[in-house]
Amino acid sequence: MSDYRIGDISKQLGLTADTLRYYEKIGLLQNIHRTASGTRIYNDKNISRLKFIQRAQKMNFTLAEIKDLLQMREDPQHARAEVRELSHRKLAEIEIHLQDLTTLRNELTLLVNLCTGSENGCPIIEGIEEGVKKTNKRPRNKLSR
């Protein structure tokens, strides 16, 4: 297992030193080893934990939720009932997000293929833009004001 200083982690994961210290303060990172002079030393397990935090943040999980999920990650068998419940809820959110992403990917694949196959620029995008313009030109009804 390798040892890393705060600057290494910062560079590798794109997190500031302040963020790393804050994560430790609020308990997202625990038992960070220190040298005799007080320098923080991180290991691969800490990196794995930090990557988990980053992934969860990309899904807009709060730091409090992430802290609970980290407990589950550390010791799944002994996680509290509410943490297990939270994990189930977050899993359901991810599944929905994944479906949305898959649909978006399929849609963009189709659009890119249509653009590639066309000799005159990207007529389908132009067609969609025309449709949007037409929609925007429609008179507003009273409720939409």
Binding site: T103, N106, E107, T109, L110, N113, L114, G117, S118, E119, N120, G121, P123, I124, E126, G127, I128, G131
Partner: protein, 96 residues
């Protein structure tokens, strides 16, 4: 998936600027004029107008040919293959 009166529905998915789409439409039209295909409906779908529908059916490029709600051809088929695809669905309907 077919309509209650046992007709077959063919949808050709095309887009502006797709040169092969017109040819695909002509090909399907020609096959549908052949005897025995009187109850086959044909519809041309502009992907720009029905993008969600196209994506849900699995269309990723044009032309796409859907028969009774199933994407059967992801490129222009030859006449023989198209004829065979229609006939196999007609046979299935007769069996039911």
């Amino acid at each position: 998936m077919h309509t209650p009166d046992n007709t077959i529905n063919i949808e050709i998915f095309s887009a502006p600027g797709c040169s092969k789409c017109g040819k695909a439409f002509q090909l399907v039209e020609a096959v549908l004029k052949e005897p025995g295909n009187e109850s086959v409906n044909l519809r041309r779908v502009n992907i720009v107008d029905e993008l969600d529908y196209a994506v849900n059916l699995g269309i990723r490029a044009t032309p796409g040919i859907v028969i009774n709600g199933v994407l059967v051809f992801t490129a222009m088929p030859d006449t023989k293959t198209l004829r065979k695809a229609i006939q196999s669905r007609q046979a299935l309907i007769k069996q039911e």
